[in-house]
């Protein structure tokens, strides 16, 4: 099946569109969660959605999307409040409070799930799909719900852009500006819950954490600006949603959620390695360059200083002596300096070894470098002295 006929398939188009919407909203909202050091909040909220889904099902009695999502939102919020209560009013730290809320609510969800499964009811079949996601079960009316949630989330982010930015980066400053920081924080948190709830159908409760974290972390590597980061996170989220949905559609039998998560993680890996400035490959290349520059300068200024002490600016230095002095092979460094025209090779009979001396350019370069370090005056005086 080629890509075009794939996209014209009704189900696959729905799934791809839905996964893209999910990627966009979780990327945008995840950016704020990651920057506010609340990455695992998404993990907690998604696990805590399970009892809500089950309760929604028990109350409504069928697998309609909207009641289940509402239930998920309610139980996620309850878990978040439970966690905040533990953090603020007990001596438990964030991690223990998070883990306790997560496992407690998930356990309640499991209990409710087995309760539903024990009932003789044909409609409960699709419920376990929420654990790992089952994108194929998407129907067009679901897309309308997902689309509205995405538009709503993006609208709120645009509307409160400035406020969210300040709250994210400097909460105290936001307080002094008189922003209702409590309300804004709750708004941001509940929007993460909204994104989580959206993803349940595609990615499932267990892997949804990755969709909150991965696009945002990937985007963070490429930029220092929030605007660009949020945009890139949306892009990466959409990309992993589309690619993941298509792959899982091509290879039938693969659960959509894990494939989407692996796509998002692959983008993270590429970003961590290759992003300019922050990327690990980039950073190690830069470190190498800095090492090279440092060594060349060191060697150059040593040649210059030897010239000073021997009262001969063109004092010829033997290469093996420098090897011994630095405890390493200096040939490459000499060669690099030579290619820049700062030194030239010379001989110093009767000694056989390779010798090097500074060119006028090299003297100038070394003098400027030492001057920039703050001992240039001494150098200039004595060089004139030596030259005379």
């Amino acid at each position: 099946m080629d890509l075009l006929s794939l996209l014209s398939d009704f189900t696959i188009r729905n799934v791809t569109l839905g996964a893209m919407l999910l990627g966009i909203s979780s990327g945008v909202l995840g950016s704020f969660a990651v920057l506010r050091k609340q990455s695992l909040l998404g993990d907690m909220l998604s696990h805590a959605a399970l009892p809500g889904i089950c309760l929604g099902f028990i109350i409504v009695g069928s697998r309609q999307l909207l009641p289940l999502l509402l239930g998920a939102l309610v139980s996620g919020t309850a878990a978040a409040l439970f966690m905040l209560l533990l953090i603020n009013r007990s001596r438990l730290k964030t991690d223990a409070a998070l883990g306790s809320a997560l496992s407690f609510f998930f356990a309640i969800g499991i209990v409710l799930l087995t309760y539903i499964q024990a009932k003789p009811d044909a409609n409960q079949a699709g419920l376990t799909a929420f654990l790992f996601g089952q994108a194929a079960s998407i129907v067009p009316s679901d897309l309308w719900i997902l689309g509205s949630i995405t538009v709503l989330a993006l609208g709120i982010v645009l509307l409160f852009w400035k406020e969210f930015k300040v709250v994210t980066f400097d909460l105290q400053f936001a307080n002094t500006l008189g922003f209702p920081t409590g309300v804004l924080e709750i708004l941001l948190t509940s929007m993460v819950a909204l994104a989580v709830v959206m993803g349940l159908q595609f990615v499932g409760v267990i892997l949804m954490a990755a969709m909150i974290i991965a696009p945002a972390v990937a985007a963070r590597q490429w930029t220092e600006r929030l605007e660009l980061m949020v945009f890139l996170a949306a892009l990466f989220g959409a990309l992993s949603g589309i690619v993941g949905a298509l792959i899982s559609a091509l290879a039938r039998g693969l659960a959509t959620g894990p494939v989407i998560v692996l796509c998002a993680s692959a983008i993270v890996l590429v970003s961590l390695l290759f992003a300019p400035n922050r990327g690990l490959v980039w950073a190690s290349w830069q470190t190498r360059q800095q090492h090279k520059t440092l060594r060349s300068r060191q060697l150059l200024s040593n040649l210059y200083k030897l010239g000073l002490t021997h009262a001969d600016p063109h004092y010829r230095v033997e290469e093996t002596m420098m090897n011994a002095y630095y405890g390493m092979q200096t040939r490459d460094i000499f060669k690099r300096l030579e290619s820049r025209g700062l030194i030239k090779q010379s001989s110093h009979m009767p000694e056989e070894g390779r010798h090097w001396e500074l060119t006028p350019n090299g003297i100038e370069e070394a003098r400027q470098f030492l001057h920039s370090l703050g001992n240039g005056d001494m150098g200039q005086d004595e060089v004139q002295h030596a030259g005379a």
Binding site: D43, S100, A107, I108, I110, L207, A210, I213, L262
Partner: protein, 377 residues
Amino acid sequence: MLVLDVQIVLVGALVGISSSLLGSFLVLRKNSMLSDAISHSILLGIILTYLLIKQTTGPFFILGAALAGVVTVYLTEFITNTKRVKNDAAIGLVFPVLFSIAVILINLYARDVHIDIDAVLFGEIGFIWLDTTRWLGLELPKSLLSMTIIALINLAFVSLFYKELKISTFDEALATALGFRPTLLFYALLTLTSVTAVTAFDAVGAILLVAFVIVPPAAAYLLTDKLWRMMAYGIVISLGSSLFGYYLAVLWDVSIAGMMAVMTGVFLILAFLLSPRYGLIAQEVIRRSQRFANEERALVVHLFNHEHSSHQNEENIVSALREHLRWSESKSRNILMRSLDNNLIVREGEILNLTLKGRAIAQEIMQPWYRPISSEG
């Protein structure tokens, strides 16, 4: 069936005990979310090891599968150490990848891998009798034996290295200075956590294990300041959760492991509310008694300030409290009643007078330098 009931409760309790012994240190080190990551990742370890050696039991299987947990911790630390990603985000990046690969492998090798996706979530503690072995002439579930061994190993680990673990947990720099290798201990702790997770997998599944690792120690932490007591309380809470969880699960016909995990949460809530020192109610009582004491102090200081002055008759009367201290009528009545009861003031007509005790309290606040030289002392 009575024996089976006891066996199931015992397995549940042993899962809780082995997990909370290790979990105590994770909670104290603020690393408890690592257990969440480990419990998800071992699914990959279990599947890979099974595909490799075609066994789902035995020490090789357990160690191989537990390796995935250790790899998770290592990768998380590695990503954190690049300083490009915060620790919590690193946790949330690593385990979904390993878990996703595991789910995909289950999809691909569904015929070979006899792992029911339900089992991943809540285990099959009710079916432990399906897999039994004979030991000393008794027919016992294998999970009971393996969990007993794991519980003993964990107990031996925390008792043998109690001192080292304690110092490494509370003062890592000191532990390093003393030559204790805290990092090695940390990895040993997490290796054992992974081994426990793999062994408990059949019984409680991957994700509910988090409840057994984090919640009993968290509840115990609200009850005591002593490390060994924290572990002991964790054991008691695990036992209680297993017992009550099993009872309720049978009563309502729901997941046994799930109900046991719910019970750990219930114990946490109870500890949070009722702990004698750190509980919500105890805190409220302390806050109330402090507020009462402050109000009584405000009253005696007010009376002391105007005692023997020309406006004593306007200030030291009941109605003045409302206007000058801005206390509502009911509030001033309550405070007056308490102060009269505590023998801080006496009433003479309209006028409120300080008793010796009340004056002493006011004097200590207003004139701390004043020491009565009287013989009564």
